[in-house]
């Protein structure tokens, strides 16, 4: 049979019903996409600090036991400290001579802070003598973009992303809420690793660490230390790529993935129920129409194909509208929230678009149940009239 039942007729002649369904699908699409954009921004923003930065920079803080020193073997603390410093200096030299490590030195660090849409991350920022700063910049592929290099005690050079994130200007006190008027921002810099650096002024925040300028092949600091005769225990702190990555997964990706999954499931369940209820009513209202088609010679297959085509038009329109609105919203969010805050975000997330479309396909699959049940109820008009 060359002719078939047109799916467009219903769509064209029931604009209000179609608009409600298409809008519900589009809004659900947008809700799932926008929530994803807002939350994934946190993961993406923290990735630079927690995954990329440790590829170039590690921090080590070891106790006496790690060096094989037993306090009971020393008559007093001065002797212990002298031995401790000697061992530490020995380790720093060994690290400096390790292939792939550009430099290592013992210095003070302070806490830096980066706030995302959801949550914040406190991370380490080294303080060093003014003449060491250029070496730090070179190692981190960073360049000064505004202001001047830190020269005096308390001067800090801050990554421009952090500047944006916290709303700093050159001349502002850095982390004033936590450190008071201690560190003054003298300039901004740009690097791929979102690092900042300053000159110590006697203020102690996070203590003293061995700062290691490593490369991608020397990120396993625990392994390197063990190769150098160091025994790591729970008292020691080794902030290397593995440790940052562990924190990144535990504090960031796992949590946010769980939140995204929960919200996604809730919206999808709500939408699936809504669409299912709407469709059952929609099919029930049209049963006489299907009976007419059956009576005048259309097969159940013809009717089923028409229903599926109508469904595909509705879902197609809902998906397309949802995609356009979602990308528009993501663009505006990037423009008004993410970018001004120095956060990392994108407009297009193909994996999320694919996930939403897959779920819509799943809902279409579920809708086949009421459709097939309705087809079973189709009788010819003689049965209705009796």
């Amino acid at each position: 049979m060359s002719s078939r039942l047109s799916a467009w007729k219903y769509v064209k002649n029931n604009k209000a019903t179609v608009a409600v369904l298409v809008t519900a699908l589009a809004i659900s699409f947008m809700a799932m996409y926008v929530v994803y954009v807002l939350l994934i921004t946190t993961t993406e923003s923290f990735e630079t600090i927690m995954v990329k930065m440790p590829q170039r920079l590690s921090y080590i803080n070891l106790g006496a036991k790690a060096y094989g020193l037993n306090p009971d073997d020393f008559d007093n603390n001065d002797e212990l400290n002298a031995a401790f410093e000697e061992k530490r200096e020995e380790l720093v030299n060994k690290l400096k001579n390790t292939k792939g490590i550009e430099d290592a030195f013992y210095t003070q660090i302070i806490t830096s802070r980066y706030q995302a849409v959801m949550g914040e991350f406190n991370f380490e920022m080294p303080l060093m003598e003014a003449d060491q700063v250029q070496g730090f910049l070179d190692h981190m592929d960073a360049s000064i973009t505004d202001g001047k290099m830190p020269k005096e005690p308390g001067d800090v050079l801050v990554d421009e992303t952090i500047m944006k994130n916290a709303g700093y200007k050159i001349g502002d006190w850095y982390m004033e809420k936590w450190f008071g008027q201690t560190f003054r921002i003298t300039g901004t810099m740009k690097s791929d690793y979102m690092v900042s650096v300053g000159v110590p002024n006697g203020y102690t925040n996070s203590g003293w660490y061995i700062v290691v300028y490593n490369d991608e092949n020397t990120t396993d600091m625990v392994g390197i230390l063990e190769d150098n005769g160091i025994t790591i225990s729970d008292e020691d702190e080794v902030l290397d790529a593995a440790e940052y990555l562990r924190n990144y997964k535990e504090l960031c990706t796992d949590t946010i993935d769980a939140v995204i999954s929960t919200i996604f499931t809730m919206i999808m369940t709500f939408l699936a129920i809504l669409v299912l209820v709407a469709y059952v009513s929609f099919l029930r209202n049209r049963i006489n129409e299907y009976c007419l088609y059956s009576s005048i010679g259309y097969s159940r297959g013809d009717i089923y194909k028409m229903i599926v085509r109508e469904m595909l038009i509705l879902f197609g329109a809902g998906t397309l509208a949802g995609l356009i609105i979602s990308l528009g919203c993501a663009f505006l969010i990037n423009l008004s929230v993410i970018s001004p805050k120095g956060l990392v975000g994108h407009v297009v997330y193909m994996n999320q678009i694919f996930a939403i479309i897959t779920t819509y396909v799943f809902i279409i699959g579920v809708l086949q149940i009421p459709v097939l049940l309705s087809l079973k109820k189709i009788r010819t008009i003689d049965a209705i009239e009796e």
Partner: protein, 218 residues
């Protein structure tokens, strides 16, 4: 065209209170003319029409259309017959409420080309359905207009047989007369079977089959 042999239709076959709608009779119908099937409610006239049109399967006997025995063909072949050879006018018009008069007429068309549309326009003009009515939905049409759309829908594929079940039941006298005039005209070349309990509309019938209690009485 139709050959009915010992046709039987029993409802509630599995129960003790069986209802005999058709009690086993023979019937032959030619390939043109206006045939009226008349009888009171429950006489089996509608059941006979539905059996002739493949909508119902008799519980006994056989129906043969142009050499095709219905009990020897598949469901899809029956659908094919209804689609291409038969046209239907039901007691209620059963127009699709969201479609225009024109779309309702074309919904049954085997060929949905512009030619079908032109044919539908011709039918509408013949049936006295004004141009401004063509784009209206059933809710905006009168009962008579709706029934005329249903008649145009039944004729759109030039079927060899039109089955009309109480086609004038919801119409006033004038509209009923007009509908019968159209069916009479169609019956000059094809077969039109009209089921009714109203003898007055069958004045121009070529043949009247009277039914009583599941049997052909005359």
């Amino acid at each position: 065209m139709f050959e009915v042999k010992d046709i039987c239709m029993i409802y509630d076959m599995d129960t003790d209170s069986k209802t005999y709608a058709l009690k086993g009779f023979d019937l032959e119908l030619g390939d043109k003319g206006l045939v009226g099937i008349i009888g009171p409610s429950g006489s089996g006239k509608s059941t006979l029409m539905y059996c002739l049109s493949t909508l119902k399967e008799p519980t006994g006997g056989s129906v043969t259309y142009n050499g095709i025995r219905y009990d020897s063909i598949s469901n899809s072949q029956r659908e094919q017959l209804r689609r291409t050879e038969f046209g239907f006018i039901f007691q209620k018009h059963y127009l699709v409420p969201y479609m225009t008069a024109m779309d309702n007429c074309l919904v049954g068309a085997v060929d949905k080309s512009d030619e079908a549309r032109k044919k539908a326009e011709g039918f509408f003009e013949d049936l006295g359905l004004g141009k401004k009515e063509w784009g209206k939905k059933p809710a905006k049409l009168s009962g008579g207009q709706c029934q005329r759309v249903a008649i145009a829908r039944a004729m759109i594929n030039d079927p060899k047989v039109i089955f009309a079940d109480e086609p004038t039941a919801s119409l006033d006298h004038e509209n009923a007369f007009n509908v019968m005039k159209i069916l009479k005209r169609y019956s000059q070349e094809r077969l039109v079977i009209v089921v009714t309990h109203d003898r007055s509309i069958l004045q121009d019938a070529d043949r009247i089959i009277e039914m009583w209690d599941g049997e052909v009485s005359r």
